[in-house]
């Protein structure tokens, strides 16, 4: 392999990366110019139920350390899932505190007791358990009393709401995570969604 070849490969690589960055940037730009994404939980369960649940004070975000107590396998398993690292892209950059981005990249943003700021609520960064299942305090209460599941706003007993949750974040713009929704969805029944 001579020098010319190497330069050629380097150029192609540079072009690709630039292209990738540009297109990514384009999506972000797009996003910045679009209306604010609605609260995922509210959209998934409907405004009425949402208001009622939040007003009751029973539904608060706790962070996944708490879920770990009883779902250690999920806790560990989800460390291999990108949702648990979704803050990585924005936490170091200019969009760190941008509500437009946090709606989809944190847990419970825009909902009382949900994510506010990295400095204030570091334990709710990333899309955690409660980012998909809704606030977990009520479930923990139910589970520790009755040793059963239940008490979640988007739990296993309510797959329709769960699916809506996915779709609020995975919009037509942000659609590269999966090709087939149903198969992607059912992966999440397991502790390690692979």
């Amino acid at each position: 392999m001579n020098f010319r070849h190497l330069t050629a490969v380097f150029t192609v690589l540079c072009l690709c990366t630039a292209d990738g960055w540009c297109s990514e940037n384009a999506r972000v730009m797009d996003e910045l110019n679009s209306p604010l994404t609605p609260n995922p939980l509210k959209s998934a369960i409907g405004e009425a139920l949402y208001n009622e649940a939040i007003a009751s004070g029973e539904y608060r975000y706790t962070g996944n350390d708490k879920c770990r107590l009883c779902h250690r396998d999920f806790f560990i398993g989800r460390k291999h899932d990108q949702h648990d690292h979704s803050m990585d892209y924005i936490s170091s950059g200019e969009f760190k505190n941008n509500p437009r981005c946090l709606v989809c990249h944190s847990t419970g943003y825009g909902t009382p007791s949900g994510f506010v700021l990295l400095e204030k609520t570091p334990r709710l960064s990333n899309v955690q358990c409660e980012g998909c299942h809704g606030p977990g305090s009520n479930h923990i209460k139910v589970a520790s009393l009755k040793k059963t599941g239940g008490g979640l706003l988007a739990g296993e007993d309510n797959p329709e709401r769960l699916k809506k949750m996915c779709k609020v974040c995975h919009t037509s713009r942000w659609n590269r995570s999966y090709n087939d929704f149903e198969s992607a969805y059912s992966k999440y029944k397991k502790a390690v969604p692979k």
């Binding site: 350390d65 708490k66 770990r68 107590l69 250690r72 806790f75 560990i76 460390k79 936490s91 990295l118 400095e119 570091p122 334990r123 960064s125």
Partner: protein, 510 residues
């Protein structure tokens, strides 16, 4: 063999009956006894099980009550990420993850405290479940002995992301102080609980247990070296027991009480890996009582079988006796008759049918004594056939015999009923005449003499003329034995023979 059977068949059947009945009742006794034993063992095992459960519960309640509260109390504001209470041997006594309680802790950093890489009681940083944490293995000591380790860590991911190193250090220092305070309070409650769980208290617990249960005499825990590590009886704690004592289950006598000992091997108190043995002494009084009762029943059954057999034997025996009694009676009658006949024969002379010499002498003596005593008369007559040798020679022995027989016959018919006639020997016949004076005897003798001489005896074709010579003598006061009279009569006979035969000679004593 068949003989034997025939003879003893009833006995054999009865014996077999008794034996099999007693055997059966004994077998029954054994089965019942085993059942009792089995039942007692099961009861004892149940009791032991509940004691072990109670002891475990006791341990749990005492040693974990307070710690457990801390564990579940995650809302302490300290945001504890992990909490464990580990025994010195690595077994997790308590943890916020319930499923790992009782297992040996496998944490990598914990192994490093073992090798000394990580010192105990110091904070250090590591990653657990992909989360950066600040951890500490906090040793809890009592009397300089390590009794447990608290493993505690807090999630510090947020500091790592957010803050400057200086800020982080400051905040972490503050957290360490908080955590140390918490650990101190945990240490205090562990000390407390361990103290209450300490030996004396456990000993009291066992004591109470024995007091409330009515059939337990003693509960002891024995370690692998057969040393009693705990008991309701304080005095035996620390002592060693025999290997056989812990390896067998048995009933024995203790302080005069029947006692049942059961050993539950390899019990693990509170998931500890140390194998201990539980020795339980139970009151076996009711068992022994019941056993005696069924033994008595068995013996009674056997005794009744024997009595029954004896009863049957009696009945059979009596009916046999009855039938044999009749038979015996018949036989006895027969024998009597036979004996009489034999006796008679032995007193008579076979040829003539007259009394024989033995009996004759007996009678002479008897009659002599009787007559002398009652002052009665008595005479003796000695009769001898004349020329008997000649008759024998002429007509043969048969002829002689016939003559003798006929003479005897005619004497019998000619004499009185009270006269006693016997053949003295050869051709000599003696007659005892009771209550007869010499004159009368002489008269009778003459009559006999003439009677025989006048009547010839037919023998075949021949006619034999027979005569007899007779000597007579009678009792006189000077006689002392019958032989004296007899020899006087003999002398008289001799005289009459000399005087020509066929005549009577009366002995004259002057």
């Amino acid at each position: 063999m068949i003989e034997f059977w025939k003879r003893y068949n009833i006995t054999i059947v009865l014996f077999t009956l008794v034996f099999s009945l007693s055997g059966l009742s004994f077998y029954n006794y054994l089965i019942q006894k085993n059942l009792l034993l089995e039942q007692m063992r099961n009861d004892a095992q149940d009791t032991a099980g509940s004691i072990i459960a109670a002891m475990n519960r006791f341990h749990d309640i005492k040693s974990t009550m307070k710690v457990q509260k801390l564990v579940s109390d995650i809302s302490l504001g300290l945001e504890i990420f992990e909490f464990r209470y580990i025994e010195p041997d690595g077994v997790i006594r308590n943890s916020m993850f319930k499923e790992e309680i009782g297992t040996v802790y496998q944490g990598k950093s914990f192994q490093e405290t073992r090798t000394g890489t990580i010192p105990m009681g110091k904070f250090f940083f590591e990653t657990r479940d992909f989360v950066p944490v600040m951890s500490i293995y906090y040793p809890i000591r009592m009397d300089d002995q390590l009794i447990g380790i608290v493993d505690l860590c807090v999630d510090i991911s947020e500091y790592k992301i957010l803050l400057s190193p200086a800020q982080t250090d400051f905040l972490l220092m503050r957290r360490q102080v908080d955590i140390l305070n918490l650990l101190k309070s945990i240490e205090g409650s562990v000390h407390n609980s361990v103290e209450i769980t300490s030996k004396t208290d456990f000993h009291n617990f066992l004591k109470k247990y024995v007091e409330t249960a009515n059939n337990i005499i003693q509960i002891s825990l024995v370690d692998q070296q057969h040393r009693i590590i705990m008991s309701n009886e304080g005095s035996i704690i620390g002592k060693r027991v025999d290997r056989t004592y812990v390896s067998s289950t048995e009933i024995f006598e203790m302080n005069g009480r029947p006692t049942y000992r059961i050993v539950m091997p390899d019990i693990n108190m509170n998931g500890s890996k140390k194998k201990e043995q539980l020795i339980l002494l139970l009151d076996a009084g009711s068992y022994v009582k019941n056993e005696h009762r069924i033994l008595r029943t068995a013996l009674l059954t056997s005794a009744m079988a024997i009595l029954f057999a004896l009863f049957i034997a009696r009945i059979i025996y009596y009916s046999a006796i009855e039938s044999s009694r009749k038979e015996t009676e018949r036989l006895e009658q027969l024998v009597k008759e036979r004996t009489q006949a034999i006796e008679f024969l032995s007193k008579t002379d076979a040829l003539t049918g007259l009394w024989n010499r033995g009996y004759l002498e007996e009678m002479m003596e008897l009659e002599f004594k009787r007559s002398r005593r009652y002052h009665k008369d008595m005479a003796i007559m000695v009769i001898d056939l004349d020329y008997f040798k000649k008759i024998n020679d002429t007509y043969g022995h048969l002829g002689g015999d016939e003559v003798l027989r006929r003479v005897g016959k005619s004497l019998l018919s000619g004499l009185r009923e009270t006269d006693f006639i016997g053949r003295y020997g050869g051709e000599e016949i003696v007659v005892i005449l009771s209550e007869t004076r010499a004159e009368k005897a002489f008269e009778l003798a003459n009559k006999i003499c003439s009677d025989i001489a006048s009547e010839p005896i037919e023998f075949g074709d021949a006619v034999i003329w027979v005569t007899v010579s007779i000597g007579v003598s009678a009792l006189r006061p000077e006689h002392t034995t019958y032989e004296e009279i007899f020899s006087e009569a003999d002398d008289a006979l001799y005289a009459s023979k000399n005087n020509g035969r066929n005549r009577v000679g009366l002995y004259s004593h002057s």
